[in-house]
Amino acid sequence: MTEQAIADRDIADALCEQVRSAYDARTPLRIVGGDTRAFYGRPVEGQALQMAEHSGIVSYDPVELVVTVRAGTRLSALQAELAEHHQMLAFEPPMFGAASTVGGAVATGLSGPRRPWAGAARDFVLGTRIITQEGKLLRFGGEVMKNVAGYDLSRLMAGAQGTLGVLADISFKVLPIPTATHSLRLSLELGEALNKLAELGRKPLPITAAAWHHGELLLRLEGGKSSVNATQERLGGEPLDAGFWRELRDHRHAFFTCSEGQALWRLSLPPNSPPLALDIPETDIFYDWAGSQRWVKTALDADTLRDACQSVGGHATCYTPHAQGGAAEPFTPLNAVVEKYHRNLKAELDVHGIFNPGRLYAAF
C-alpha cells in the first residue's frame, strides 16, 4: 500500500471554537471525519464539524507500544506508518472507504475479524483528548498501559458515536504484527463447523479469525512460525488468500451485496450460540467471530430478528437503515432503566444536544 505523508495539522483550537459557538447558539453538530460511516446509525441533521483537517501522528514510540494520533488522520495512513515498524492496531478496524479516519473508527467502535481473540476497539484505547460541550479540550486516560485514575471516559467514548463529545486525539496500544500467518478453508457443514470451533476454542491454538459461509470453515492462524506451522499441519484444509479477511472486514466480499428488499443485519450473539430459528436461507448468513457475529441479508422485520437474538442474549443492528427494507431504528432499543442512565449521561455531557443528536437513538 503506498501512502502519502500524513498531513500534520492541529486545528483543535478552531474545532473548540466551533463547538463553543454551537453550544451558545444551541446549533446541532454533525461530526464528520471521512464521512465513510454515515450509513451506520440514524441520520444526523446539523452543521458539519469537519475533523479530517485535524490530522497527524502526535507521538509514536514503537518500543512503548503506544501511538497518539489526531482524530482526522486517515486510518490507512496510520496503519501504513505502524506497519513500517511491524506493528498494528490489533482490533482490525473496518474501513468503508479510503477516507476513513481514526476518529470515526473509534467513535463507531467497530472491530474486525480478530476481535474475539485480541479485543475490541475500546480495549486498545489508552487515552483521549476530548472536546466537551463547552468547547474545552480535556485529556482523559493517557499514554501508559495501566491507568485507573478517575473514570474511564476514553473507553466510554469508543462506540458512543460522537454523542457525548468530540474525539480530538486518541492514544492506542499497538501490538507487533505476528511473525507468521496462514489462512485455510475446510469443507464443513454448519453444525460440524460450530462444534469444531467450540472444541478449538478451548485449546491454546494461534487462531485469530474464524468464519463460516457456504459449507466452508475459514480460519486464520497467526503467531510464531513453529506454532502456525504445527497448527496448519494439524488442521489441514486448503490454503486461503489472506485478502479474504480484509474483504470480510470492509464488507467488500460479494456476500455483502443485498438483493432488492433485503437489508443487511449484524447479529451479535453469545459465543457458541446455535443457529437461530429464523426463516433465512443459509446462503444469506455469514458467520464471523467464530459464530458470535453473524451477517444476515433478509427482508424480515426488525422485531422478528431482535426477538430471536434477544432470546439467546444477543442483539441485532441494521447496517442498511437508509435502504429500502432497512430499519428506522438501526440499534436495538434499550430497556427502561439502562435508557434512563443513557439520557442522564447525555444530559450531563451534552445538555443542549449539540453532539450528533439522534445518531444512536431518537431520544438523545
Binding site: 480495549d123 491507568n147 485507573v148 485514575a149 510464531g224
Partner: protein, 499 residues
C-alpha cells in the same frame, strides 16, 4: 490529617442518628445481618490500607440480592451514604468506611453460578475470590487471566470496582478487558445489566465505565468473566544486571524485538534482598536489578522466543541469565516476586506501597528521582516494577511508631506520584485512587477534567451517596491540597474559597 472524610472539603453528609438509622433498616430489611456494636464494627474499620481507620456507623451483611436492593432504597431515601466492600484487600482505601455511612459487605455472595467451558465464560457472584474462578475453570483447561498479587484473597467484585491488574497485564489486559457482563444495583435500587455474553451491546459502553469506578456509580451484584485456554507452556528467564538503567533498557529491547511476554517484572537490589531472605527464590544478591521474563504459549513458539529474549538480554549487558529448568523452579522464581511486599514487610515495621505508572523510557529518570527522595527523607525505598507495562510499586520503608514517620512516608509517596505524572504517567496503575490518592488526583487532572468526572457521577448518583470522598476529589479539596494546574496564568474556578 487530611485523609479522613472532611465535610469542609469533601462535601456535607446528612446527619442522622445511628439508632434511628438502625431501627429504620432493621424494619426495612428484617432478615439481614446488621452489625452495630462497636466490637462488631471494629474488624471493618479499614481495608488493605491499614494506616487509615474509621469505624462505620453500621455494617450490613446481606446474603440475598433483595436485601441489597431494599437496603439501597432505604439509604437513598434517608440520604445515608453507602460504602461497598468486598474482601477488603484493596490498597488505596477504596472501602474505607464513613462514620456516618453504612458499610455494605458483599462477601456472602460467594457462589460460582456457572462455568461454561464451550462459551469460555464464568458467571460468578461478587464475593467469589479471584483465584477460585481459575480453580473452577481448571478442569476444562481454562483460567481467568487477571491475577493481582492478592488473588488468593481478593474478590472479583472488588477487582471490577478497582479494575485490578496483576503481573500479566501487558499480554492479557486488566480486569476491564476480561469482564463480559456486570449486573449492578443503582443507589436508587434499580437493577441494570451492563455488557452481555455477546461481544458487544447497543448503546454506550457502560461496562467499561463501571470497571474501575470504585463503587461510586453502582453496587456490583454479579459478574460474567471471560476464560482463556491455559497456555500450553510457560517458561521463565531471570536476568541479572549490575546497573538498574541497563535492566530498564533491556525491557524496551525485548518489546522492540516484537515479543510480548506473559510477564516482565523487575526488582531492585533492596527488593531482591528482601525477597531472597524471605523465600530463598535463588535470586542473585550481588545484582543491582533482576528481570523476570515469562514467555507463554505454544511450546515451539515459546522455545523460539526464549532464544530471542536470551540474545536480547545478553546484548543489553545482563551479567547472568538463568532459565527455570522446570515448573518447580519457575514457581520459585515467581515466589520471590509475588511475595515481595510481605518480604519487604519483614525488613521494616511498616511500608507504604505506591502504584504509579510511567512510559517505560522514563524509568531511569524516575528511579533516580526516587533515589534522591529516599536519600533526602532518610527513608529506604525498595522498587518492584511491572516493567512490561510501566507500573511501578516503590515500597517506602518506615516505622509508624516513630513520631512523624508516617507523615514523611506519605509525603515521599506523594512526591513519587508527582514524578510519575510529570513523566507522562499516572498516579495509579491498578490499586485505584480510593481515599489514599485523592489529593494526587488534583495533580493528574485539571479542574475542568475533574468537573467532567463529577458530571458522570451525577448521572448515576446525583446525591453522591455511593462511596463519597473516594476516587474523585472535590474542587474545594484540589484548591486546598492539590498542585492545581494553572494554565495561561488563569486560575480556574476563582469563585472557590481557598482554605
Amino acid at each position: 490529617m487530611n485523609i479522613l472524610f472532611d465535610e469542609r472539603l469533601d462535601g456535607e453528609l446528612v446527619q442522622r442518628d445511628k439508632s434511628e438509622v438502625l431501627t429504620d433498616l432493621q424494619q426495612a430489611v428484617p432478615d439481614m445481618t446488621l452489625l452495630y456494636r462497636e466490637e462488631d464494627l471494629r474488624p471493618f474499620e479499614c481495608d488493605g490500607l491499614a494506616a487509615y481507620r474509621v469505624l462505620p456507623m453500621l455494617v450490613a451483611m446481606p446474603d440475598k440480592l433483595e436485601q441489597v436492593q431494599a437496603l439501597l432504597k432505604r439509604c437513598h431515601a434517608l440520604g445515608v451514604p453507602v460504602v461497598t466492600r468486598g474482601a477488603g484487600t484493596g490498597l488505596s482505601g477504596g472501602a474505607l468506611p464513613l462514620e456516618r455511612g453504612v458499610l455494605l459487605v458483599m462477601s456472602r455472595f460467594a457462589q460460582i453460578i456457572k462455568v461454561d467451558p464451550d462459551a469460555r465464560l464464568a458467571r460468578v457472584q461478587p464475593g467469589v475470590r479471584n483465584l477460585a474462578i481459575s480453580e473452577a475453570a481448571a478442569p476444562y483447561g481454562l483460567y481467568y487471566a487477571p491475577d493481582p498479587s492478592s488473588q488468593i484473597a481478593c474478590s472479583i467484585g472488588g477487582n471490577v470496582a478497582e479494575n485490578a491488574g496483576g503481573v500479566h497485564c501487558l499480554k492479557y489486559g486488566l480486569t476491564v478487558h476480561n469482564v463480559m457482563r456486570v449486573d449492578v444495583l443503582t443507589i436508587a435500587g434499580e437493577h441494570m445489566t451492563l455488557g452481555a455474553e455477546s461481544l458487544d451491546t447497543p448503546g454506550f459502553d457502560l461496562l467499561a465505565l463501571i470497571n474501575g469506578s470504585e463503587g461510586m456509580l453502582g453496587v456490583i451484584t454479579e459478574i460474567t468473566v471471560k476464560l482463556l485456554p491455559k497456555p500450553e507452556t510457560a517458561k521463565v528467564l531471570m536476568a541479572s544486571f549490575d546497573d538498574v538503567e541497563k535492566a530498564g533498557r533491556a525491557v524496551g529491547d525485548i518489546i522492540a524485538a516484537g515479543i510480548i511476554p506473559g510477564g516482565l517484572e523487575m526488582m531492585d537490589k533492596l527488593a531482591i534482598k528482601a525477597a531472597e531472605d524471605f523465600v530463598n527464590a535463588g535470586y542473585p544478591l550481588d545484582a543491582e536489578a533482576i528481570l523476570l521474563c515469562e514467555l507463554d504459549g505454544v511450546e515451539a513458539d515459546v522455545d523460539d522466543d526464549c532464544d530471542t529474549v536470551r540474545r536480547v538480554l545478553e546484548k543489553a549487558g545482563a551479567t547472568q541469565i538463568q532459565q527455570a529448568r522446570d515448573d518447580a523452579e519457575r514457581a520459585k522464581f515467581w515466589a520471590g516476586r509475588k511475595n515481595a511486599f510481605p518480604a519487604v514487610g519483614r525488613m521494616s515495621p511498616d511500608y507504604y506501597c505506591m502504584d504509579g505508572t510511567i512510559p517505560r523510557r522514563e524509568l531511569p529518570r524516575v528511579l533516580k528521582g526516587i533515589a534522591a527522595l529516599s536519600e533526602e527523607s532518610g527513608l529506604a525505598v525498595a522498587n518492584v516494577f511491572h516493567a512490561g507495562d510501566g507500573n511501578m510499586h516503590p515500597l517506602i520503608l518506615f516505622d509508624a511508631n516513630q513520631e512523624g514517620q508516617l507523615g514523611l512516608a506519605e509525603e515521599v509517596g506523594g512526591k513519587i506520584l508527582e514524578l510519575c505524572v510529570a513523566a507522562g504517567g499516572s498516579i495509579t496503575g491498578e490499586h485505584g485512587v480510593g481515599r489514599e490518592k485523592i489529593n494526587q488526583m488534583c495533580s493528574q487532572f485539571q479542574p475542568h477534567e475533574i468537573s467532567i468526572f463529577h458530571a458522570l457521577k451525577a448521572a448515576f448518583d446525583p446525591q453522591r451517596l455511593l462511596n463519597p470522598g473516594k476516587n474523585i476529589p472535590t474542587l474545594a479539596r484540589c484548591a486546598e491540597f492539590g498542585a492545581m494546574h494553572v494554565h495561561n496564568n488563569e486560575l480556574p474556578h476563582p469563585e472557590l474559597p481557598r482554605f
